[in-house]
């Protein structure tokens, strides 16, 4: 079966999974999940440009599908913990489907505007520009005033080169390729520029948020240790 789908259509992995199941007119069950597992994996393979943070979400579900399919093929490899996580996935999907239906209802309600409550001081009043008040003489007068106004020239100063977070991120990433664990002081060791230290720190927080690195610090003002995720 050929599925013409792209990532933009989906809110996330659950949405994709649900669509795959519904396209085949299946119910949400372990059997149908193992049936659509291949299509799901194929989809991820074909969408090379899924952004990193989204990709994680898609892969998390992909790994669950692979286990599920493996167990469907080799039933003797059963394990209570895995079975529980499969049941969890089913419940999650069923709930998700329910929420999608509820979302549709809310959407309808919003669009049909049979009922809305207004504030006493409604911000939704639309102020319209009274076009009749704009006359040619008024525009000329305003323009004349603006053009004759003396404008102080902007002072010209040379801007210092500021490190950009993107560059810093790349630099840290390169650093991570050589070393799996290092100290913050090593990273900024060569510089005395305050702004560069701040940018390095921001870049680090960004990487930590994206799950690329772990950061730890024993006490306040102590050394910060940076570890590559997964070591």
């Amino acid at each position: 079966m050929n599925l013409q789908i792209s990532l933009q259509q989906f809110q996330g992995p659950l949405d994709l999974l649900l669509t795959l199941i519904q396209k085949q007119e299946l119910d949400i069950s372990k059997i149908s999940l193992s049936q659509v597992a291949d299509q799901y994996l194929k989809f991820i393979n074909e969408n090379k440009h899924i952004p990193f943070n989204k990709l994680l979400d898609f892969l998390a579900i992909a790994s669950q599908l692979i286990i599920l399919k493996t167990r469907a093929l080799l039933p003797y490899l059963s394990d209570d913990a895995e079975e529980e996580s499969e049941d969890n996935l089913i419940i999650k999907l069923q709930n998700y489907q329910l929420y999608l239906n509820l979302a549709k209802k809310l959407q309808n309600r919003l669009e049909n505007q049979q009922s809305i409550s207004f504030s006493r001081l409604s911000k939704s009043i639309n102020f319209r520009l009274d076009e009749s008040s704009i006359t040619l003489p008024l525009l000329q007068k305003t323009a004349a005033r603006l053009l004759t106004q003396k404008v102080k020239p902007m002072p010209i100063t040379a801007l210092k080169k500021i490190f950009n977070i993107q560059e810093k991120l790349k630099q840290i990433n390169d650093y991570l390729k050589q070393k799996e664990k290092f100290l913050f002081s090593e990273l900024v060791g060569r510089t005395s520029s305050k702004i560069e230290i701040i940018i390095s720190f921001l870049a680090l927080l960004e990487l930590s948020k994206a799950g690329v690195v772990f950061i730890s610090q024993k006490e306040m003002f102590e050394e910060i240790t940076i570890m590559k995720h997964g070591t």
């Binding site: 329910l98 509820l102 919003l110 009922s115």
Partner: protein
């Protein structure tokens, strides 16, 4: 509580909500009246019920955190004309997140992500900017809840009104 004090409290809360013209938090109401937050909540619930029963033209919309005095939702058509109201569209992703928060909120970011299966930092930030959700601090955590503005757009006076008919379906 004594009947007279109770009526006095209701009267002050009513004046406050009227004068504010925007959502005010239970916390604020409690502080001004020197009562505790639970009492403020009870008062507002009671008033909501009374206004509804009496079919008043003004109502109170509340998300269990803030309350605002509004027009009655069933008069929307006439008021829309009067106020020149134009509905604003909300994107699919936003609606989805709002639905989860409306029916299951207040939720932490992690809880919302568990249900939706996707990272929700961006969507939460955008919803916050649109004023469609409130972030409520509970200890170290922030829990998110649909805002009074969102309930107003739906013409719903409390989150319970939404939740009551579907709660049993969601595990």
């Amino acid at each position: 509580m004594e009947h007279e004090t109770w009526n006095k409290i209701k009267s002050i809360v009513e004046s406050l909500l009227f004068a504010a013209g925007k959502p005010i938090s239970y916390n604020q109401i409690a502080k001004i009246l020197k009562i505790d937050q639970k009492e403020a909540e009870q008062t507002i619930r009671q008033m909501q019920k009374e206004y509804q029963e009496q079919k008043r033209g003004f109502r109170i919309v509340s998300n269990n955190y803030q309350a605002e005095m509004t027009s009655a939702p069933e008069n929307a058509e006439m008021l829309s004309q009067f106020l020149n109201y134009e509905k604003s569209a909300i994107s699919q992703a936003k609606i989805e997140a709002l639905t989860v928060l409306a029916y299951k909120g207040p939720l932490t970011q992690a809880e919302l992500e568990e249900i939706r299966g996707v990272n929700c930092s961006v969507i939460l930030r955008n919803l916050k900017i649109d004023d469609l959700i409130d972030g409520i601090k509970q200890g170290d955590m922030i829990k998110y809840q649909v805002s009074v503005k969102f309930l107003k757009m739906l013409g719903i006076e409390s989150v319970e009104e939404l939740q009551s008919n579907v709660n049993c379906l969601l595990s």
